[in-house]
Subunit: 244 residues, 2 copies
């Protein structure tokens, strides 16, 4: 029988969002013993952390760590400061330039923490739900960035020197949101536990209008099924009509 003791170990960066849930489910299907890492960096949506905990249970993760990271390091982003999160942007508007929701060096730090965790538990892989199709404006979601980080992981660790480098696996990198949702459906991912909003209300309900909500809505619409998180089903067209 496969037990956590004799399976290969993988660290999964689990944000509580849809992409990282599908990534983790894929890692599970591939037979890895899962070590989930959620970074809480004082982002507005603390609800994501609760969802990540529930997801970890569903996945049968060996361990789930929540690492608190000081917000102050990340001034200058709409996700960490009191800047307005853009709403009701079209696909074209969303992919023009670097979004104000870019958080300086975030994925470098997240992958660095995942790398430390991987060495501590001797995991040989980090799963990372980055995506370059819907999030083309983020420099630290691009394949060339991930490849560069893999070199850092190989050269800057004891495991790398010993010939067992930690590899960085981003299985959703080139998938559309619809493809990611279809993959998640096939894997039985509990989408109702996932959360994809940059700017939820005080009860944790998604706004339905930020880039992340809109990409999710468009994805479920393309697949042709309703989003199991009701508030994510906001009708985009009507919210556009009603926006000031």
């Amino acid at each position: 029988m496969m037990t956590p003791e004799n399976r290969n170990r993988a660290v999964v960066l689990a944000s509580g969002g849809l992409d990282s849930a599908v990534t983790a489910a894929l890692a599970k299907t591939e037979g890895w013993a899962l070590y989930l890492l959620t970074i809480s960096y004082g982002q507005r949506h603390g609800i994501e952390i609760d969802r990540a905990r529930r997801l970890a249970k569903w996945l049968g993760a060996v361990e789930h760590r929540v690492h608190e990271l000081d917000l102050r390091m990340f001034g200058g982003s709409a996700l960490t400061d009191n800047l307005d999160v853009p709403r009701d942007r079209s696909q074209k508007e969303r992919t023009h330039g670097i979004p104000v929701t870019y958080v300086p060096a975030r994925n470098t730090i997240f992958l660095g923490l995942a790398l430390a965790y991987a060495e501590v538990v001797q995991a040989t892989r980090i799963y990372f739900g980055a995506n370059v199709v819907d999030y083309s404006g983020y420099p630290d979601c691009r394949p060339e960035f991930i490849q560069a980080f893999a070199e850092v992981a190989r050269l800057g660790t004891k495991m790398g020197v010993e010939g067992r480098p930690v590899d960085i696996c981003a299985p959703l990198l080139f998938k559309t949101k619809a493809e990611i949702i279809r993959l998640g459906l096939a894997l039985g991912v509990p989408f109702h536990l996932t959360h994809s909003c940059y700017d939820p209300d005080e009860n944790g309900n998604p706004c339905g209008r930020c880039d992340s909500c809109r990409i999710r809505q468009e994805g479920f619409r393309a697949v042709g099924i309703p989003d199991p998180v009701p508030a994510h089903q906001t009708d985009v067209e009507s919210s556009v009509r009603n926006s000031p």
Copy 2:
């Protein structure tokens, strides 16, 4: 007149140790406006942080941030766990393999945090006191690691995409400890504010016997001047004779 406003900005990773003090002094001499970053990761020697603060004042740093990092991410090192720090090792013993004082992925995380800080304050350089001569066993002090991280900085940030990448400068990389001390003397570095011990006593006095203390002692001896931190002057030979 040069003011912080019209000088180029650099982030300096300042541990409170001798190498980072010389690195910061060099950056100052080169005309950079200094943004010092000290990472407090629950290491035993909290005294280093106090020294880094005093050094920041001496340097006239524009800002000095102390970033707390959760210790738990770093299990598995003599610097973070209750493992014994090796003592009284010869130069040959010290450079054989990866020391137990290696902290998993530490410099990747430290440089990642420095990179975020650099983007927030729009600094175009990170100064980093890594050294490959005396610390050849640490994978994340090697030039190939630093080069790989520079690629991450170029590819994974907004500044990199905009053609103003943050470069990583490790000016002490190939210097011996004696050369570093001579450089520090020329720059007027207040060595009495620096601290180089892995395992100080409860009053913050260096042990005089760990690898870091021994490298420092050998450096001052090679230069032919006394170490201004009296406890660092422990006679290595007598402590070897007296060791159990």
